[in-house]
């Protein structure tokens, strides 16, 4: 049985993040996901195509973690609604739900990168 290669893997997503881009997947059903998968979370199709995601979004929820895990600093994390998909990121600055934020590259703690967002300047 032949099976299509995955359009993007974690390695691709990570490389894009380190190159200051947010890479996701779009299904032929229209659903978009902000992290690599082998199938669409909405419909299960494996007909997925890579796509760049918007780099601005709105804070859906946020919290400031005062007791971090070993290897991390305290700080704010947020679920950011990028429009077609949502993504968890680290926040550089202070935000509230509903605030506009802009992607500001990757932050690496403990070896792996995480997306960073900062408040959008008015």
């Amino acid at each position: 049985m032949s099976e299509r290669e995955p359009p993007i893997t974690y390695a691709d997503w990570r490389q894009a993040l380190e190159d200051d881009a947010l890479l996701g997947l779009e299904c032929r059903c229209g659903a978009v996901t902000a992290t690599p998968k082998r199938a669409c979370p909405a419909c299960g199709s494996r007909e997925l195509a890579a796509r760049e995601l918007p780099t601005t979004g709105t804070v859906d929820s946020e919290t400031t973690i005062a007791v971090p895990p070993a290897g991390h600093d305290s700080g704010t994390v947020a679920v950011v609604d990028l429009g077609p998909a949502r993504l968890l990121g680290r926040i550089d600055g202070a935000v509230e739900i509903g605030d506009r934020v802009v992607f500001a590259g990757a932050r690496t703690a403990d070896g792996e990168p995480a997306p960073v967002f900062e408040p959008e300047e008015n």
Partner: protein, 389 residues
């Protein structure tokens, strides 16, 4: 309809225990067997839960060690891991195996050690717990479990107006309930003001909004209804078990406040039992954080959507209230030894539905529900149990 029957339950006190996992589990399993009036030679399998022993105490492949320690001979012994829902998924498998006739009688339970008795401090244990968030798309942000449920809860506060005072009311209630539970890690009178003055862990949660790191074990004996009539232990019926799985990472969930797997698992469990939420007399829910209890009471259909906070503040969920929630004290006060929590809830429902829960007894309790979630609620198991007339 009865799918299977619990005929025995046992628990250690949840708190701090400095002894091996094998010995700690035996201190719940042997009381469960004694309560059931079942000998080890009558146990056909061990379904055993432990979530983090590999990380916390370099201890894996525990099922044969536990089976040997308990003298279970060569019967199949297997370990389950689904984060905080670990022993509930073990319990579900046991119910299904008994119902299908694969086994007549199964010993089910779990054990975990999470306190500094393991040699791990708060930062190290927080990191171990955080390993149940997504390895690539969540852990690198520094997300913690208080953080996960803080994200859900702040969204709930935004959408419904839930307040920090209402969250604190959950902690006050569960600490008060814990006072009446001899198995509980904590139990004391605290005030809303004391909760709100505590140090922040992940806003809006302060220290007393969070369950403790606990050590402990729990076990139950599951058998078929025919066999249940022949053993000494007073039977309690398992009328429904629902189990559903949600999307991870959490940012990709359809809703941050609905806990969809809990809603679907509850519907499945209620349908199996042939009941509606209004037929439930008490609930043991997964209140790892105060906000998690608010979400759970709504997902189970016990409280209207968006009203979980006001319901707690108004006393609707007190023991003696409209729908008692966590009369054991819940994870908040009873404690949360990860792999022991699920069957700990089943042990509590067993005692309540036998009318044997002592000072914490819910009056006229004939049907109860247990809600146990793993990770960011992406694993949720809901169980309906009924007193046997």
């Amino acid at each position: 309809m009865t799918r299977a029957t619990v005929v025995g339950a046992g628990m250690t006190e949840f708190g701090q225990h400095d002894r091996p996992l094998t010995e700690l589990f035996a201190d719940a399993a042997i009381p469960a067997l004694a309560d059931a009036g079942v000998g080890t030679d009558e146990i056909d399998a061990l379904y055993f839960g432990n979530a983090m022993g590999g990380q916390t105490e370099t201890d894996t492949h525990l099922a044969p060690a536990i089976g040997t320690h308990l003298g279970l001979g060569g019967v199949p012994c297997q370990r389950f891991e689904d984060a905080c829902a670990t022993s509930s998924t073990a319990f579900k498998q046991a119910v299904e195996a008994v119902e299908a006739g694969v086994h007549d009688t199964v010993l089910v339970g779990g054990v975990e050690r999470c306190t500094p008795a393991t040699g791990l401090d708060t930062a190290a244990m927080t990191e171990v717990f955080a390993s149940a968030t997504h390895r690539q798309y969540e852990q690198p942000t520094g997300l913690t479990f208080p953080g996960v449920f803080a994200l859900f809860t702040k969204r709930h506060m935004h959408e419904y107006g839930t307040t920090e005072e209402q969250l604190a009311a959950v902690a006050v209630k569960n600490h008060r309930h814990g006072k009446a539970n001899p198995y509980a890690h904590f139990g004391k009178d605290v005030t809303v003001e004391e909760v709100l003055e505590g140090p922040t862990v992940a806003d809006p949660f302060r220290l007393l909004d969070c369950c403790p790191f606990s050590d402990g074990a729990s076990a139950v004996v599951v058998t078929n209804p025919e066999r249940a009539e022949t053993v000494a232990g007073e039977p309690v019926a398992v009328a429904g078990v629902g189990h559903r799985t949600g999307t991870v990472p959490l940012a990709e969930k359809e809703s941050l406040t609905a806990t969809r797997p809990a809603r679907e698992a509850a519907t499945e469990a209620y349908d199996q039992a042939g009941v509606d939420p209004d037929a439930i007399d008490l609930a043991e829910v997964h209140d790892c954080f105060t906000g998690a209890e608010v979400l759970a009471t709504e997902a189970l259909g016990l409280i209207e959507d968006g009203r979980g906070g006001p319901a707690a503040a108004a006393g609707r969920t007190e023991r003696g209230g409209e729908i008692p929630v966590n009369p054991s004290g819940g994870l908040k006060a009873k404690g949360h030894p990860i792999g022991a929590t699920g069957t700990g809830q089943i042990a509590e429902l067993t005692e309540q539905l036998r009318g044997a829960a002592g000072d914490r007894q819910v009056e006229n309790a004939t049907r109860g529900v247990a809600h146990n979630l793993g990770g960011d609620a992406a694993t949720t198991v809901v169980t309906v149990m009924e007193a046997v007339a």
